[in-house]
Protein backbone atom coordinates (compact mmCIF):
# COMPACT_ATOMS: atom_id res chain seq x y z
CA UNK A 1 0.00 0.00 0.00
CA UNK A 2 2.82 2.36 0.86
CA UNK A 3 4.50 2.19 -2.54
CA UNK A 4 1.19 2.35 -4.38
CA UNK A 5 0.09 5.31 -2.25
CA UNK A 6 3.31 7.19 -2.99
CA UNK A 7 2.84 6.64 -6.74
CA UNK A 8 -0.81 7.72 -6.49
CA UNK A 9 0.17 10.91 -4.68
CA UNK A 10 3.10 11.58 -7.00
CA UNK A 11 0.83 11.33 -10.05
CA UNK A 12 -1.71 13.69 -8.54
CA UNK A 13 0.98 16.18 -7.54
CA UNK A 14 2.61 16.10 -10.98
CA UNK A 15 -0.77 16.56 -12.66
CA UNK A 16 -1.61 19.52 -10.42
CA UNK A 17 1.85 21.05 -10.95
CA UNK A 18 1.52 20.66 -14.74
CA UNK A 19 -1.91 22.34 -14.63
CA UNK A 20 -0.68 25.24 -12.49
CA UNK A 21 2.52 25.70 -14.52
CA UNK A 22 0.83 25.75 -17.91
CA UNK A 23 -1.96 27.99 -16.63
CA UNK A 24 0.63 30.40 -15.21
CA UNK A 25 2.68 30.42 -18.42
CA UNK A 26 -0.41 30.67 -20.63
CA UNK A 27 -1.83 33.67 -18.77
CA UNK A 28 1.51 35.47 -18.32
CA UNK A 29 1.04 37.80 -21.35
CA UNK A 30 -2.40 38.85 -20.07
CA UNK A 31 -1.07 39.41 -16.56
CA UNK A 32 1.73 41.58 -17.98
CA UNK A 33 -0.79 43.63 -19.96
CA UNK A 34 -2.96 44.15 -16.90
CA UNK A 35 0.06 45.55 -15.02
CA UNK A 36 0.68 48.18 -17.72
CA UNK A 37 -0.32 51.80 -17.03
CA UNK A 38 -2.96 51.67 -19.80
CA UNK A 39 -3.87 47.98 -20.21
CA UNK A 40 -6.27 48.68 -23.11
CA UNK A 41 -3.46 50.30 -25.11
CA UNK A 42 -1.11 47.44 -24.23
CA UNK A 43 -3.80 45.13 -25.61
CA UNK A 44 -3.97 47.25 -28.80
CA UNK A 45 -0.20 46.91 -29.21
CA UNK A 46 -0.35 43.14 -28.88
CA UNK A 47 -3.52 42.64 -30.91
CA UNK A 48 -2.31 44.70 -33.88
CA UNK A 49 1.40 43.77 -33.64
CA UNK A 50 2.56 47.36 -33.20
CA UNK A 51 6.24 48.22 -33.01
CA UNK A 52 7.42 50.43 -30.16
CA UNK A 53 7.52 53.46 -32.50
CA UNK A 54 4.00 52.79 -33.84
CA UNK A 55 2.76 52.25 -30.30
CA UNK A 56 4.28 55.53 -29.12
CA UNK A 57 2.47 57.40 -31.94
CA UNK A 58 -0.83 55.64 -31.21
CA UNK A 59 -0.51 56.36 -27.47
CA UNK A 60 0.18 60.05 -28.15
CA UNK A 61 -2.90 60.26 -30.41
CA UNK A 62 -5.01 58.46 -27.84
CA UNK A 63 -3.91 60.74 -25.02
CA UNK A 64 -4.49 63.84 -27.17
CA UNK A 65 -7.95 62.67 -28.20
CA UNK A 66 -9.34 61.84 -24.75
CA UNK A 67 -9.56 65.44 -23.33
CA UNK A 68 -11.41 66.64 -26.46
CA UNK A 69 -13.76 63.65 -26.20
CA UNK A 70 -14.28 64.50 -22.52
CA UNK A 71 -15.25 68.09 -23.39
CA UNK A 72 -17.84 66.91 -25.93
CA UNK A 73 -19.21 64.42 -23.40
CA UNK A 74 -19.52 67.26 -20.92
CA UNK A 75 -21.51 69.32 -23.45
CA UNK A 76 -23.84 66.34 -24.09
CA UNK A 77 -24.19 65.90 -20.32
CA UNK A 78 -25.21 69.55 -19.92
CA UNK A 79 -27.71 69.20 -22.77
CA UNK A 80 -29.14 66.07 -21.12
CA UNK A 81 -29.52 67.90 -17.82
CA UNK A 82 -31.24 70.82 -19.56
CA UNK A 83 -33.58 68.41 -21.38
CA UNK A 84 -34.49 66.70 -18.12
CA UNK A 85 -35.23 70.08 -16.56
CA UNK A 86 -37.43 71.19 -19.48
CA UNK A 87 -39.31 67.86 -19.46
CA UNK A 88 -40.00 68.27 -15.76
CA UNK A 89 -41.45 71.74 -16.35
CA UNK A 90 -43.54 70.82 -19.39
CA UNK A 91 -44.51 67.26 -20.38
CA UNK A 92 -45.29 68.26 -23.99
CA UNK A 93 -42.70 68.61 -26.74
CA UNK A 94 -42.20 72.37 -26.87
CA UNK A 95 -40.20 74.15 -29.61
CA UNK A 96 -37.48 74.69 -27.01
CA UNK A 97 -37.28 70.93 -26.36
CA UNK A 98 -37.24 70.21 -30.11
CA UNK A 99 -34.42 72.68 -30.57
CA UNK A 100 -32.47 71.14 -27.70
CA UNK A 101 -32.95 67.61 -29.09
CA UNK A 102 -31.64 68.79 -32.47
CA UNK A 103 -28.72 70.51 -30.78
CA UNK A 104 -27.88 67.37 -28.80
CA UNK A 105 -28.12 65.21 -31.92
CA UNK A 106 -25.73 67.62 -33.63
CA UNK A 107 -23.24 67.40 -30.76
CA UNK A 108 -23.50 63.60 -30.84
CA UNK A 109 -22.93 63.59 -34.60
CA UNK A 110 -19.92 65.86 -34.16
CA UNK A 111 -18.67 63.48 -31.45
CA UNK A 112 -19.00 60.50 -33.80
CA UNK A 113 -17.33 62.34 -36.68
CA UNK A 114 -14.37 63.31 -34.47
CA UNK A 115 -14.17 59.73 -33.21
CA UNK A 116 -14.09 58.40 -36.79
CA UNK A 117 -11.34 60.87 -37.69
CA UNK A 118 -9.37 59.66 -34.68
CA UNK A 119 -9.77 56.02 -35.69
CA UNK A 120 -8.60 56.82 -39.20
CA UNK A 121 -5.56 58.67 -37.87
CA UNK A 122 -4.72 55.75 -35.58
CA UNK A 123 -5.12 53.26 -38.41
CA UNK A 124 -2.70 55.30 -40.52
CA UNK A 125 -0.15 55.14 -37.70
CA UNK A 126 -0.24 51.34 -37.88
CA UNK A 127 1.30 49.03 -40.49
CA UNK A 128 -1.03 49.02 -43.54
CA UNK A 129 -2.64 45.58 -43.09
CA UNK A 130 -3.08 45.97 -39.33
CA UNK A 131 -4.43 49.47 -39.85
CA UNK A 132 -7.15 48.15 -42.18
CA UNK A 133 -8.04 45.40 -39.72
CA UNK A 134 -8.13 47.91 -36.84
CA UNK A 135 -10.35 50.33 -38.75
CA UNK A 136 -12.82 47.62 -39.77
CA UNK A 137 -13.05 46.31 -36.23
CA UNK A 138 -13.32 49.67 -34.44
CA UNK A 139 -15.93 50.98 -36.90
CA UNK A 140 -18.02 47.84 -36.37
CA UNK A 141 -17.81 48.39 -32.63
CA UNK A 142 -18.77 52.06 -32.74
CA UNK A 143 -20.41 53.92 -35.63
CA UNK A 144 -21.61 50.82 -37.52
CA UNK A 145 -22.99 49.21 -34.40
CA UNK A 146 -26.17 51.27 -34.67
CA UNK A 147 -26.81 49.61 -38.06
CA UNK A 148 -26.49 46.18 -36.48
CA UNK A 149 -29.01 47.22 -33.85
CA UNK A 150 -31.43 48.48 -36.52
CA UNK A 151 -31.24 45.26 -38.54
CA UNK A 152 -31.76 43.22 -35.36
CA UNK A 153 -34.75 45.38 -34.54
CA UNK A 154 -36.24 44.68 -37.99
CA UNK A 155 -35.70 40.92 -37.94
CA UNK A 156 -36.41 40.13 -34.29
CA UNK A 157 -38.97 42.58 -33.01
CA UNK A 158 -40.09 44.38 -36.16
CA UNK A 159 -43.20 42.46 -37.30
CA UNK A 160 -44.28 41.82 -33.73
CA UNK A 161 -43.98 45.50 -32.88
CA UNK A 162 -45.91 46.44 -36.03
CA UNK A 163 -48.70 44.06 -35.03
CA UNK A 164 -48.76 45.55 -31.57
CA UNK A 165 -49.12 49.01 -33.13
CA UNK A 166 -52.04 47.84 -35.31
CA UNK A 167 -53.92 46.30 -32.34
Amino acid sequence: MKKGGVILLLGLLLGAAAFAGFYYLGTAPCRNMMHEQQPELAWLKKEFNLSDADFARVTAMHDAYLPQCGKRCQVIGEQNAKLAELLTKDPTVTPEIESLLAERAKTRALCEAEMLKHFQEVSRAMPAEQGRRYLLWVQEQTVLRAQAMESRHKTDGGPQMMEEHHH
Binding site: G4, L14, T27, W43, L66, Q141, T142
Partner: protein, 115 residues
Protein backbone atom coordinates in the same frame (compact mmCIF):
# COMPACT_ATOMS: atom_id res chain seq x y z
CA UNK B 1 3.54 -20.11 25.22
CA UNK B 2 5.45 -21.53 22.29
CA UNK B 3 5.37 -25.24 21.49
CA UNK B 4 8.67 -26.56 20.34
CA UNK B 5 8.28 -28.85 17.39
CA UNK B 6 10.89 -31.53 17.34
CA UNK B 7 11.15 -34.55 14.98
CA UNK B 8 10.18 -36.84 17.94
CA UNK B 9 6.97 -34.89 18.65
CA UNK B 10 6.16 -34.86 14.95
CA UNK B 11 6.50 -38.64 14.77
CA UNK B 12 4.31 -39.05 17.81
CA UNK B 13 1.65 -36.81 16.32
CA UNK B 14 1.67 -38.73 13.08
CA UNK B 15 1.16 -41.97 14.96
CA UNK B 16 -1.80 -40.54 16.86
CA UNK B 17 -3.35 -39.20 13.67
CA UNK B 18 -2.89 -42.53 11.94
CA UNK B 19 -4.67 -44.25 14.78
CA UNK B 20 -7.54 -41.73 14.85
CA UNK B 21 -10.75 -43.14 13.51
CA UNK B 22 -13.80 -40.91 13.09
CA UNK B 23 -16.85 -43.04 13.80
CA UNK B 24 -19.39 -40.22 14.27
CA UNK B 25 -21.73 -40.05 11.27
CA UNK B 26 -21.88 -36.74 9.39
CA UNK B 27 -25.10 -34.76 9.81
CA UNK B 28 -27.54 -34.91 6.90
CA UNK B 29 -26.70 -32.62 3.87
CA UNK B 30 -23.33 -31.86 5.45
CA UNK B 31 -21.57 -31.21 2.14
CA UNK B 32 -24.33 -28.91 0.87
CA UNK B 33 -24.20 -26.88 4.05
CA UNK B 34 -20.42 -26.53 3.79
CA UNK B 35 -20.69 -25.26 0.21
CA UNK B 36 -23.44 -22.83 1.21
CA UNK B 37 -21.23 -21.44 3.97
CA UNK B 38 -18.34 -21.07 1.55
CA UNK B 39 -20.57 -19.19 -0.94
CA UNK B 40 -21.92 -16.91 1.80
CA UNK B 41 -18.40 -16.10 2.99
CA UNK B 42 -17.22 -15.36 -0.55
CA UNK B 43 -20.12 -12.97 -1.15
CA UNK B 44 -19.37 -11.19 2.14
CA UNK B 45 -15.70 -10.83 1.23
CA UNK B 46 -16.29 -9.35 -2.25
CA UNK B 47 -14.77 -5.83 -2.15
CA UNK B 48 -16.81 -2.66 -2.88
CA UNK B 49 -15.65 0.36 -4.89
CA UNK B 50 -13.19 1.60 -2.28
CA UNK B 51 -11.97 -1.90 -1.62
CA UNK B 52 -11.29 -2.40 -5.31
CA UNK B 53 -9.55 0.96 -5.50
CA UNK B 54 -7.33 0.20 -2.54
CA UNK B 55 -6.55 -3.20 -4.03
CA UNK B 56 -5.71 -1.49 -7.35
CA UNK B 57 -3.37 0.93 -5.59
CA UNK B 58 -1.81 -1.90 -3.59
CA UNK B 59 -1.39 -4.40 -6.37
CA UNK B 60 -1.49 -2.75 -9.80
CA UNK B 61 0.02 0.70 -9.24
CA UNK B 62 3.45 -0.45 -8.00
CA UNK B 63 4.02 -2.28 -11.31
CA UNK B 64 6.49 -0.10 -13.28
CA UNK B 65 4.55 -0.02 -16.56
CA UNK B 66 1.26 0.84 -14.89
CA UNK B 67 2.91 3.41 -12.62
CA UNK B 68 4.55 5.09 -15.61
CA UNK B 69 1.32 5.12 -17.60
CA UNK B 70 -0.61 6.54 -14.64
CA UNK B 71 1.89 9.35 -13.98
CA UNK B 72 2.19 10.15 -17.71
CA UNK B 73 -1.60 10.28 -18.10
CA UNK B 74 -2.03 12.68 -15.18
CA UNK B 75 0.83 14.81 -16.49
CA UNK B 76 -0.71 15.06 -19.96
CA UNK B 77 -4.14 15.79 -18.46
CA UNK B 78 -2.64 18.52 -16.27
CA UNK B 79 -0.83 20.12 -19.22
CA UNK B 80 -3.93 19.98 -21.45
CA UNK B 81 -6.30 21.29 -18.78
CA UNK B 82 -3.84 24.06 -17.75
CA UNK B 83 -3.33 25.19 -21.36
CA UNK B 84 -7.04 25.15 -22.17
CA UNK B 85 -7.99 27.04 -19.01
CA UNK B 86 -5.26 29.61 -19.71
CA UNK B 87 -6.54 30.02 -23.27
CA UNK B 88 -10.10 30.60 -22.09
CA UNK B 89 -8.93 33.05 -19.43
CA UNK B 90 -6.70 34.92 -21.93
CA UNK B 91 -9.50 35.25 -24.46
CA UNK B 92 -11.76 36.67 -21.72
CA UNK B 93 -9.09 39.19 -20.69
CA UNK B 94 -8.46 40.13 -24.33
CA UNK B 95 -12.17 40.65 -24.98
CA UNK B 96 -12.42 42.72 -21.82
CA UNK B 97 -9.45 44.92 -22.76
CA UNK B 98 -10.80 45.37 -26.30
CA UNK B 99 -14.10 46.52 -24.81
CA UNK B 100 -12.26 48.88 -22.47
CA UNK B 101 -10.39 50.40 -25.41
CA UNK B 102 -13.60 51.05 -27.33
CA UNK B 103 -15.38 52.39 -24.24
CA UNK B 104 -12.52 54.77 -23.52
CA UNK B 105 -13.17 56.38 -26.92
CA UNK B 106 -16.91 55.82 -27.29
CA UNK B 107 -18.76 55.95 -23.98
CA UNK B 108 -22.04 54.94 -25.67
CA UNK B 109 -20.76 51.42 -26.30
CA UNK B 110 -21.29 49.06 -23.36
CA UNK B 111 -20.08 45.78 -24.85
CA UNK B 112 -17.60 44.89 -27.55
CA UNK B 113 -16.48 41.74 -29.29
CA UNK B 114 -12.87 40.91 -30.17
CA UNK B 115 -11.38 41.78 -33.58
Amino acid sequence: MKSIQTPDNDEHLRAVLRGWVVDTPLPPRFQDQVWQRITRTEIRLQPGFWGSLIRLVEVALPRPKIALSYVATLLVLGVAAGSMTAQVRSSHVNADLGARYVQSLDPYRADTSQP
